[in-house]
């Protein structure tokens, strides 16, 4: 498990080496399907996962509280 955490922790290091993309070059990045957040229409799917699964969080959804789920 420690190895997995270290692996995930290394992700930000990979980000640091990126070259800045100019605003006028972000046409593809600005495509609605490229959004990094969960889509609003998927919210109820995430809520059902939070009821049926032990894991929550790290997906932009709720992390506990507010309902009888975990």
């Amino acid at each position: 498990m420690i190895k997995k955490i270290v692996l995930v922790a290394c992700i930000p290091i990979a980000f640091s080496s990126c070259v800045a993309v100019k605003g006028y070059e972000k046409v593809n990045i600005n495509d609605p399907d490229m959004e990094l957040s969960e889509k609003l229409c998927d919210r109820n799917i995430t809520i059902f996962h939070s009821y049926r699964e032990a894991a929550v969080g790290a997906n932009g959804g709720k992390t506990g509280g507010g309902c009888g789920c975990n």
């Binding site: 990126c18 800045a20 889509k39 969080g57 790290a58």
Partner: protein, 440 residues
């Protein structure tokens, strides 16, 4: 746990360091665009249905049949060039066969695989959330505050929180922090046959036991005590770092840390002990106790998203999450979605999601717990399992928005269906629909 905390601290430190290093060249110009040009209205609806044979209400054996209909209205209103108020109101109405068996004795033959007709059979959940956000003039900083309230028959929640997001590196890097507190309160409802054994109850002289014959062990004497704390408080802290990696790739790292305290078990979920003689009314096994779980839980979720713009027809959206908590659960979530643009206004969304988890230390199946244990649950949501989910959706986007009526124009429609199957037998389907409107 010490090693984990140290590694997490190092990870967070790296995130801060990298973003500080990239804090150059933030200004792309002095033009100040409104954060939200016009008000937007989202209407969401979903229908969820599940079935299985491991209901926690009946101690891990019994029908899990459940249906839920949810409707949500989200209105985002621009208050000024920089400020947006979002109001989010939702109603969820569900019917649950397992919840109905909190009292399985109110009609006919009691059986954990047959729904009862009692009041606990259905319930309605109401939610209202308000979010106020403010963006800085250069649009590189965003503050937000949130207040929420939700209620259902046996559960009430008050939540508040806030977030701060900072954009760096010509808006190529985004770092966000969020903190939320939920102050929740249960109204404890216990399995019907245990209530006569609460203080002031009549025990075996209760009407239930005089009217029905106990088979198996006739000297039914559960080790039941009522709960003393009905509060559940949740404190969460989240960090998100997103980065544009190239003209066609961007990714995000997400971390959530959650501490929960108070009543973390569900009061109406039964548990059966293997070292206690079994008592029945009809086919229904009388509870030995309710689920008991620790009053504290610390959860960590670490996730990453990576999206690829392959070409004008195809995008790849991928997601991975590793989760662990101090109840012994750890899990992996992996999902991929492939938006395929089939026409100017239509996009298809095939998707697949895999999930697995290791059981909580306190989980055992039906009738396998020992009465000498301090904590126990037979809730299969806390068991060892893996699940596959297959989804398909379609999106219609009205690019020109000609059909304005009453100053409201339809911007997009989303329809999705997802099928979810666990290797424990539970299966579920959910249909979701989303309609987005803009107001002139």
């Amino acid at each position: 746990m010490t090693n984990y905390k140290l590694l997490l601290f190092i990870s967070l430190f790296m995130v801060f360091g990298i973003c500080h290093a990239q804090n150059t060249g933030q200004n792309e110009g002095d033009y100040k665009k409104r954060v939200l040009e016009t008000a937007e209205i989202d209407i969401l609806a979903s229908y969820y249905s599940q079935d299985g044979n491991n209901a926690a209400v009946t101690g891990g054996l019994g029908t899990e049949e459940l249906t839920d209909i949810t409707g949500t209205l989200v209105i985002a209103i621009p208050l000024s060039d920089d400020d947006v108020l979002t109001v989010d109101a939702g109603i969820s109405a569900y019917t649950s066969a397992s919840s109905s068996n909190i009292n399985p004795f109110d009609k006919g033959f009691a059986d954990p695989f047959v729904a009862s007709s009692g009041a606990s059979r259905d319930d309605t959940w109401y939610n209202l959330t308000g979010i106020y956000s403010h963006s800085s003039d250069d649009r590189n900083s965003i503050w937000s505050g949130k207040l929420s309230f939700s209620t259902e028959y046996d559960y009430t929640s008050l939540g508040f929180g806030g977030s701060y997001t900072r954009l760096f590196n010509e808006k190529n890097t985004e770092l966000g922090f969020s903190a939320n507190v939920f102050l929740d309160k249960w109204k404890a409802i216990y399995p019907y046959e245990l209530r006569p054994f609460a203080p002031g109850g009549r025990g075996l002289n209760d009407f239930l036991f005089l009217e029905n014959t106990i088979t198996g062990n006739p000297d039914y004497n559960p080790s039941f005590t009522v709960l003393t704390d009905e509060n559940r408080n949740s404190y969460s802290f989240g960090v998100g770092l997103s980065q544009i990696l190239s003209k066609n790739i961007q990714g995000a790292f997400l971390a959530d840390f959650v501490l929960q305290q108070g009543l973390l078990s569900t009061p109406f979920q039964r548990v059966y002990f293997s070292d206690v003689a079994d008592s029945f009314i009809d086919n229904f096994h009388l509870a030995d106790d309710i689920e008991r779980l620790p009053d504290s839980r610390f959860k960590v979720a670490l996730g990453g998203r990576l999206n690829f713009f392959i070409n004008e027809y195809l995008v790849v959206r991928s997601y991975y999450r590793y989760y662990f908590d101090d109840w012994g659960i750890n899990s992996n979530t992996l999902s991929i979605e492939l938006p395929v643009k089939i026409a100017e206004k239509f996009t298809l969304y095939p998707s697949y999601r895999f999930y697995n988890q290791k059981a909580a230390d306190y989980f055992a199946p039906y009738n396998e717990h020992l009465s000498t244990s301090q904590f126990y649950t037979s809730d299969y949501d806390l068991s060892d399992y893996n699940a596959n989910q297959y989804g398909f959706g379609i999106n219609y986007t009205n690019i020109i928005m000609k059909q304005h009526k009453l100053k409201v124009g339809l911007k997009s429609i989303d329809l999705k269906y997802n099928y979810y199957k666990r290797n424990t037998g539970l299966s579920a389907g959910i249909i979701t629909a989303g309609f987005k409107f803009v107001v002139d």
